[in-house]
Symmetry: C2
Subunit: 180 residues, 2 copies
DNA sequence: ACTCGACATGTCACTATTGACACGTCACGG
DNA sequence: CCGTGACGTGTCAATAGTGACATGTCGAGT
């Protein structure tokens, strides 16, 4: 299961409580890579602890438990990451919508495509605007994660934006032709 | 559930049997947008038929049933597609791996990033090579789906390729600095 | 003293999905 | 005639994941 490795990865970067991990999934991680709610995170942490891949490093206020990755956990994570790129699971509702546009009539399709182009263009711009100069932040640090995600997000929105523009042009040409 | 709409979308483009739908999910659809095996497709088709969104249009050899979308099904699909872009579900194991690179030590990270850069560069090239001139194929046709997917794929691989190159450069700079 | 919102963890029923197994058909080549 | 591989549909147990519900703590502001 990927949730297993997502948690190991987050804990490898920085020891965290279940609550903090849940927060992580609400950010770029959940937006681009993998979603999970606290109801799956807490049980998974328990399982990981039983398998010796993580351990409770600290118990704090309000019954909070801070988990840390163990040496075995790190080994397991590394093995998973370095493994040959198999065809991993993919589920993306937005992309599904994009592909299914071909099932709409051209007029509806154009409306949708324009919406997508507008939205992704905006988002890409926003992300660029908040991209700060971070030459001194190393990847292999708690902040590195955010850097990687931010740069990925920009490219992602650009890609979809460019795709939508291409599709709009194609579709308009098509409509022109059918009018004559 | 998105599987519902994926099936409606495919059937809106062209009536198909469960077997043919299963094949569809093995192509670009499953690669970029949404996965499903025949064990979830057949029961879902039954449910859709019960709800009146699809119907059996034809029974062929080997007990095959060709399903077609109904008017109600088309309405349901259109509603789903045109709805305001909510934050749909996202699960992508490859992207998860990419983000978790920050949990590796820099040397391993470089190896992985170079692998990703190489692989995505190759794939983008392959896709470009097989991109045929298809000026006369309209989107809103069975072939339209493949067109949309192919163009998306190219941009997708380019985006990840560019991301990996950026990450490699950053990481190398980092390593240089720490050496001095 | 009280209230509110963030912090923090948990259960449980239900739904979705996967993987293993199972079964039968049709066309083609040897 | 036989084998093989693609075609074609299905069940079932197990696992994964979601949403509703439940419970309590702590700090800050009023």
């Amino acid at each position: 299961m990927s949730l297993t490795h997502a948690l190991l990865g987050l804990l490898a970067v920085r020891p965290s409580s279940g609550y903090e991990l849940t927060r992580s999934f609400e950010g770029d991680l959940g937006r681009y890579a993998w979603q999970a709610g606290h109801t799956s995170i807490y049980p998974e942490l328990t399982k990981l602890a039983e398998r010796g891949l993580v351990e409770v490093a600290h118990e704090g206020a309000r019954g909070s438990r801070t988990y840390a990755i163990t040496t075995e956990g790190r080994a397991e994570l590394r093995e998973w990451l370095m493994a040959p790129p198999r065809g991993g699971r993919v589920r993306n509702e937005q992309v599904l919508r994009m592909f299914l546009i071909s099932a709409l009539d051209p007029k509806d399709a154009l409306v949708l495509l324009r919406g997508i182009a507008g939205h992704t263009g905006e988002r890409a711009g926003e992300l660029r605007a908040i991209r700060v100069e971070t030459d001194d932040v190393p990847f292999t640090s708690p902040e590195g994660f955010g850097l990687l995600a931010a740069e990925y997000g920009i490219r992602q929105y650009d890609a979809v934006h460019s795709w939508a523009l291409w599709a709009i042009e194609r579709l308009e040409k098509e409509l022109d032709r059918s009018r004559t």
